[in-house]
Amino acid sequence: MAILIDNASRVLVQGITGREGAFHTGRMLAAGTNVVAGVTPGHTGETIEGVPVFDSVHEALAHIRADVAVIFVPAPRARDALFEAADAGIKLIVCITEGIPVRDMAEVMAHLPRRGTRLIGPNCPGLITPARCSAGIMPSEIFMPGAAGVVSRSGTLTYEVVHELTQAGIGQSTAVGMGGDAVHGIGFIECLTLFEADRETEGVALIGEIGGDDEERAAQFIHDHMTKPVVAYVAGHSAPPGRRMGHAGAIVEGTSGTAATKAAALQEAGIPVAGSPSELARLLGEAIKRRRTT
């Protein structure tokens, strides 16, 4: 059933009446997603792309069942929207919003486990299970259903790799964009655990970048727990220390978080590391083929 979302997923969009929210609701519907409700305070009774709008998540859920919330609410109000969705009982939240303060995200991450809620993002493109459900802003046109799992800290690099995979005839089970912030929800290890257990997924492409030590910890996990092939790519080898490279979390601090240490940790764990996104797609295709023939 791929991971996290499939055609049974029922999506609610918070911030649906905003420019981004309305635009991407249309795109999610076009990608075959079951978008069942939208929320913007003060807009109850309206419809966006045929989707009914409510004042609050609680009100929406009193009328319609939903299990995934996609958040387009601007950064100053995103924290509240996250709390609202979790408290209303939503179990999977995808937060697209960029620029949320670290303090707000730390508070959200302290609260979500108490509600049993899982978060993707923030500052992320969301996730997609091709032809079944898109929860976020990934361009569904370049995807195709298949066996490759993709988990990434970068949106456009995901598209780049997926585009190559699709052109080579290798479809994707689910692609997850974790987002570029220092404090974020789902991580590599959680996604890898889900991909390992997923029957459709036969191999995983992991796309990392500078900052933090998510890749180093993922390397250890893959070495210890993954039976399916994993191939990796790390961006930011030429990044100067102390400068934020676009993403809030993409920063080399002192000597830690460099692309070189991450690539080395992955290689030491026996994971092939590609020199470019196109090589990553090639490596994954080969790994999946090898797995099928042995």
Partner: protein
């Protein structure tokens, strides 16, 4: 955004943390006047956004106004680890009995604030963490509960003040108050780092924050209207930021524009692997429209001349056609003659190629895939560099002959 020591100390003082009387000086004369007011013994400290100021000679204790003026002259002329000294902090000197370390930072791993304390301060904390990890007390702070009293007690216990310390065990009360105030400051000012190194116990038995290192979260400036990013020194960065673009100046000679932070980083890496060197990191973002592409190119040409430019776009939401239109407009309007290699793929790539073809600009080359684009731009830049060097040599050669 990193604050300078004196900016951090202003926040410390507002938060009720103990700091010494001090004055900011920008000239040796100002430093002398400050010393006369604070003296006789003062410490003259370089204000630069970097560590290692002491080792570099950027911090001097002085006993007279004349000594202060001399120290100020020296230090103001210094560059420490690539950072120019922006100002001086002239601070009353104290006698130090003990140096400790106290900080709160954000831990990406536990996704929460982390309090760190060490009995041993005034040292490089990363070095200490490697040499004697057990010397560091670490306590994650639940952001919803805040700093708890038992955690404050843990810090006071770890400090282990004894009868031999000035002020005796009474210093513990002061330390507890410092911990609480530092946490309030961290939370209320949306800091991602507050570091006191060293936190000192004076021979008079008082606790003092001798240094301050504060990093505040730029994303939270909407609720701290007194905070603003300083204008970037780099003209390209200033122009790009005004247009809402993420821009980082680099040292190379190949201009880079792309959409998405990861894609731009990856492009820069591949240029380096192919033997070239990028002049910048410029991310025009998802859903970029033609004005944005134009602004990016304009920002790039506001800086030192580049040998060549690579525009690498993978259209997800971004329509390549829009980017192509922006590029054509910017190149035509600014009369750009540097070679530009363009790679467009994904959303409306064919329409984008048609726009470039119709414009028929002599300096624009279209590459069909990212690997080819990198190869092309590195090759063009190499040839342009070689040609420029040859031209220079041709000019220099006769001059050399005349000199003999």
């Amino acid at each position: 955004m990193d604050l300078l020591e004196h900016q951090g100390k202003k926040l410390f003082s507002e938060a009720g943390l103990p700091v010494l009387p001090s004055v900011v000086a920008r000239t040796p004369a100002e430093a002398r006047r400050a010393a006369e007011q604070l003296g006789p013994r003062v410490c003259v400290k370089a204000q630069a956004k970097t560590g290692g100021r002491g080792k570099a000679g950027g911090i001097r204790v002085c006993g007279s106004a004349a000594e202060v003026e001399a120290a100020a002259t020296d230090i103001l002329a210094m560059t420490i680890r690539g950072h120019a000294v922006e100002a001086l902090l002239v601070e009353r000197a104290v006698d130090i009995a003990r140096e400790m370390y106290l900080a709160i930072t954000v831990s990406r791993e536990v996704r929460s604030p982390l309090l760190i304390f060490s009995r041993e301060g005034g040292v490089d904390i990363e070095e200490l963490a490697k040499r004697a990890p057990e010397a560091l007390l670490r306590r994650p702070i639940d952001p919803l509960l805040g700093l708890l009293e038992y955690q404050v007690r843990d810090v006071v216990d770890a400090a282990a003040f004894g009868p031999d310390d000035p002020g005796g065990t009474g210093a513990g009360k002061g330390l507890a108050a410092v911990c609480r105030a530092l946490w309030r400051l961290y939370r209320d000012r949306d800091a991602t780092l507050v570091e006191v190194n060293p936190l000192v116990l004076t021979s008079g038995g008082e606790l003092v924050c001798l240094d301050s290192k504060v990093t505040v979260d730029e994303n939270a400036f909407f609720r701290h209207l007194d905070m603003a990013l300083p204008a970037p020194e780099d003209r390209r960065e200033a122009k790009a930021r005004a247009a809402g673009l993420a821009f980082v100046p680099l040292d190379g000679d190949i201009g880079v524009i792309g959409n998405g932070a990861g894609l731009v980083m990856s492009t820069i890496d591949q240029i380096a692997t192919a033997g070239g060197s990028a002049a910048d990191f410029c991310d025009i973002g998802g859903g970029a429209r033609s004005e944005v592409a134009q602004a990016a190119l304009e920002a790039m040409f506001a800086g030192p001349p580049v040998a060549a430019v690579l525009v690498n776009i993978f259209g997800g939401i971004t329509r390549c056609e829009d980017v192509a239109r922006g590029l054509v407009e910017a190149i035509t309007a600014a009369g750009v003659d540097a070679p530009v290699v363009v790679r467009l793929d994904g959303n409306a790539a064919e329409e984008g190629h048609a726009v470039l073809e119709a414009a028929d600009l002599p300096n624009v080359t279209v590459a069909l895939d990212p690997d080819e684009a990198v190869r092309l731009v590195v090759d063009i830049a190499r040839r342009r560099r070689a040609a420029a060097a040859a031209a220079e040599a041709a000019v220099a050669a006769p001059a050399e002959g005349e000199g003999v």
